[in-house]
């Protein structure tokens, strides 16, 4: 193809066909070369990171800790919620009858309540049963023996039908109006407060997670910015020999993805490490609750989502940094 000797008088002819053929084919980039270019950036960015393992590890550790914190809080909150859910289900109304009321009066009231549509169950606890329960649970058996008489009243435990939202069940007003009733105990305010605390905690954790994700983004962005600055000469050469902005940017984006991935894996290690460290004391605590609660860790899907999301975060940080700092050496 180079056989033709140059001649000086072909000045205004169209460019020779070989020129077009020689010029790098921009639009003819097929899948294979696209893949090759990505593989090149993929491995060259990884090699560059592994060439300075301490700096890379340090950056990934900082990012990983920033990601692990909200994860741990979310797990904590999740467990608190399931624990509180158990309490919130306990929506019984405890009704203490007046001291004068006897077992028959209690049974009569219980019978009347059972006919109501919005009451699912009524349990009567006689003073004798109450005393036995108290004796068994409180450890005051000896002290109780000293008592001359049974001071406990008749008690009804009423389970109302579930109400929507935070509304009080209608039966509550009826019970308070009953003349044999001394005291109606219903912990609505406490339950609402617990719900509000959990809601607040959840919002706080989300805000914290947002802030720490932003911090992670800045860490990646700053690291990539320094990387871009230290490779200014390489970038300039690439641009001079015809690299597209995408080609110049790609290794930095991969760098961001790697940092994100490493930090995500590290965050998972921190989470599992903390879980492991707390397992024994938590088990002891749960034993005391007759194992009614189990500790929830990360679900496999969530564990998988962490490195994926952190890699996306790393990509975004690198993208922002390179958009800002890859001031191209191209004239307008």
């Amino acid at each position: 193809m180079f056989a033709r000797k140059p001649s000086g008088n072909r000045l205004k002819q169209a460019p020779p066909p070989r020129a077009a053929e020689r010029a790098a084919p921009r639009r003819r980039l097929g899948f294979t070369s696209w893949r090759d270019q990505h593989l090149y950036s993929f491995f060259s960015s990884l090699g560059r990171l592994l060439a300075r393992p301490w700096a890379t590890a340090l950056t990934a550790l900082v990012m990983g800790l920033a990601l692990a914190l909200p994860l741990l809080f979310l797990i904590l909150l999740d467990n608190a919620r399931s624990l509180a859910g158990g309490w919130q289900d306990a929506r019984e109304i405890t009704v203490f009858l007046k001291p004068g009321a006897d077992a028959q009066a209690g049974a009569a009231l219980a019978g009347r309540l059972r006919t109501r549509g919005d009451v699912t169950a009524v349990k009567q606890i006689t003073p004798e049963q109450g005393l036995e329960e108290f004796r068994a649970m409180s450890g005051f058996a000896d002290a109780l023996d000293v008592l001359q008489f049974n001071p406990l009243p008749q008690v009804l435990v009423v389970t109302p039908q579930e109400t929507r939202g935070s509304e009080d069940p209608a039966v509550l007003a009826v019970l308070r109006a009953e003349k044999e009733v001394d005291l109606v105990q219903y912990d609505a305010a406490w339950r609402r407060r617990l719900g509000a605390i959990l809601g607040l905690s959840q919002r706080s954790v989300l805000v914290l997670a947002g802030l720490l994700a932003l911090a992670t983004l800045l860490v990646v962005g700053n690291t990539v910015r320094l990387d871009i600055q230290s490779r200014a000469e390489e970038i300039a050469v690439m641009q001079l020999i015809g690299a597209s902005p995408g080609f110049v940017r790609r290794p930095f984006l991969y760098t961001g993805v790697w940092y994100g991935l490493f930090s995500g894996v590290f965050a998972l290690m921190v989470v599992y490490g903390v879980q492991w460290a707390l397992q024994a004391p938590v088990d002891r605590l749960l034993d005391s609750y007759d194992n009614r609660f189990i500790l929830h860790g990360l679900t496999p899907a969530a564990a998988l989502a962490v490195p994926v999301l952190s890699a996306a975060l790393g990509w975004l940080g690198a993208m922002l940094a390179s958009a800002r700092h890859l001031a191209e050496a191209l004239p307008d």
Partner: protein
Amino acid sequence: MIRFDQVTKRYASGHEAVHELSFELAAGEMAFVTGHSGAGKSTLLKLIALIERPTRGHVTVNGQNLHGLRRGRIPELRRGIGMVFQDHRLLMDRSVYDNVALPLIIAGLSREEIAKRVRAALDKVGLLERERAAPITLSTGEQQRVGIARAIVAKPAVLIADEPTGNLDPQLSGEIMRLFADFQQVGTTVIVASHDLPLVKRMGKRVLVLDHGRLLDDWRPGST
């Protein structure tokens, strides 16, 4: 192949590097650009590769008027131009092979094709045995030859060189210049900026002499 039409380049500082410069270089022609330092040699080359845009006038490369070339198309233009720099601008953290392969990776060639072309280019500059070496371990002359291999590996239609022998002794300089003449022999349009007038004269090619951004002389071999 390269055509300057009343081209003026004034930098933001007010310095006028090139003043109403007009010349034409045919496809496959070789020319030296010479003149004292600051005469506008580098600027002339920068205008060809669109490292700078002219303040006035038109530059045409490969039949393409660069005036209307959008910024996004500049990389494509540069892939058709091989560039050699005085300080060779090799990437020191990569092997000789990787340096020479870079334009082909950018162009998106297959790995087999890249290997073939890189070896051919290194063979051409006489450094085939050093492909695994780090550029830092090479002599200045060898580094410049790697720079030349990188410039020609993608078989560009145009090869431009800015003081390619600036750091070399006379004997090495002669070798490098003959290398450029070889590329002209195979049809590449070559334009070399050099202030080494004796060397330029010995090469017996066209010489554009610049002075304060103006074309002082356009000497062609065979003319007196």
